[in-house]
Amino acid sequence: MSVLAALGRPPAAGEPASPQAPDVQRGTRRLLLPGVLYLVVFFVVPVGVLLATSFYARVPGGEIGEFAPALRWQNYPEALAKFWPQLSRSFGFAAVATLAALVVGYPMAYVIAVRARGRPGLQGLLVVLVVAPFFTSFILRTVAWKQILADGGQVVAALRWLHVLPPDGRLSAAPAAVVIGLTYSFLPFMVLPLFASLERLDPRLLEAGSDLYASPLTTFRTVTLPLSLPGVVAGTLLTFIPAVGDYVNSSLLGNNTTTTMVGQVIEQRFFRTVDYPTAAVLSVVLMVSILTLVTLYVRRAGTRDLV
């Protein structure tokens, strides 16, 4: 999944596949070792430890947080039965936020890539505006949303006036606030890959569409959208994956009953109730379902060169 290559403007074609001088090759293999070793020790092994922990059993008569290695597979049905609402809510919220980010982000990417084409100054400025959030504190911005969406604020007042919200309706501590926060948090990750793929769109194709009497909407549907599909796939993945696991938005913008997401549960089980096996089960389930979804999605979208 060189999906993230989109962040750094990927090369148009694939990697060069020219044959190498043998001594250059031998040198490259040595360059590989430290990084691979690092990822094995601090990614592969920890994930293995997590998997093992998910089967641990409580020590009979032991202290809180005392577990012993075991093969207690019942941890899985138990944890799933207990935390199914939080788990399914995480996927639901993340899906809605991803869709919203696509709807909000596509016009932004389109304007940067197509309308600002040939004006490098404007294009550069708009790209900087998209990445600007990366340069300020993520948590401060989330707290800002909490204040912007507060009951006494202008946003709620305007939505009530527009009858989008009932007269006593509120956004704070509601699922809507969490979804708005998630959409906001990961919007740049949607816009950047969309921009990267729309930038490669040949403008003559759009002209050809209108020359052949296609309406702008038809041109968009039959030319622009299909050609930007790699960007759509990359952007939705880059938004969906961090959104499912996020717990900053749900804990700062939500309440505890209708908005808790699985990330919060994992954190609480780890550090407050010291229930490592349940936290590990939920982590493993989260990781496996995301990897499965991503594989299925990418295969279905037919952009296999992304993986």
Partner: protein
Amino acid sequence: MSRARAGGAVVPVFAALGFVFLLVPIAYTVLFSFNDAGKTNLAWRGFTLDAWRNPCGAPRVCSALVGSLQVGLVSTLVATALGTLLAVALVRGRFRGRGAVNLLVLVPMTTPEVVLGAALVSQFLSLRLPLGFGTVVVAHVMFCLSFVVVAVKARVATLDPALEQAAADLYATPWQAFWRVTFPLLLPGIAAAALLAFSLSFDDFIVTNFTSGGFGTFPKFVYVSAARGIPPQANVISSAMFVLALLAVALVHVGSRARRRR
């Protein structure tokens, strides 16, 4: 063309709304750095420069900032070094298991941060490692590494491999070829990757929260004080970092343009 653009006034309007959506919380953060807030910073109470004059005025805010800077610098250095080597090897080398290494680099990016945090803390606990600065750096290097590899790979792919072959033909060792030829040409990409790694590390909350124990970082400070209202000094620090980052981006941009002109 005119037809394609006819209905098109709508698109820029929607895009503009998107940009507003993206920028309002930043404006809000900057604005509230000037709030005459006293201890809590929840409602606008008037303009003051107090927090800017005394950015360390709130307890622990500056020690948290220093903690984040230390973690960010060390993690960036290590992740950028390891990631650059990996990226060069992955693009240039033809070896068995290349696909597996590519996968190993990419899977951490498709793993949510809670899972990374939970996995690392499980390992640290089972090794009885005390949580603190060291474990945070280890964790940050791990998740920054993949991003560095992807960013530098994009740059390596634009290089002509003939340059290295020429160096080898001229009896340069692979090491000399790397330092004298490949590395200087990769530098803009490496600088961009390092900036990305630093901003990821500096702003990380979830993995840090899992792996830090009592060690304080800036995002942790902000998160913990969110319930009581964040002191305006935190807004000052974030706003100042924002300006510095924009300057850095402008410098990298100008630098790469000057390089291209040469």
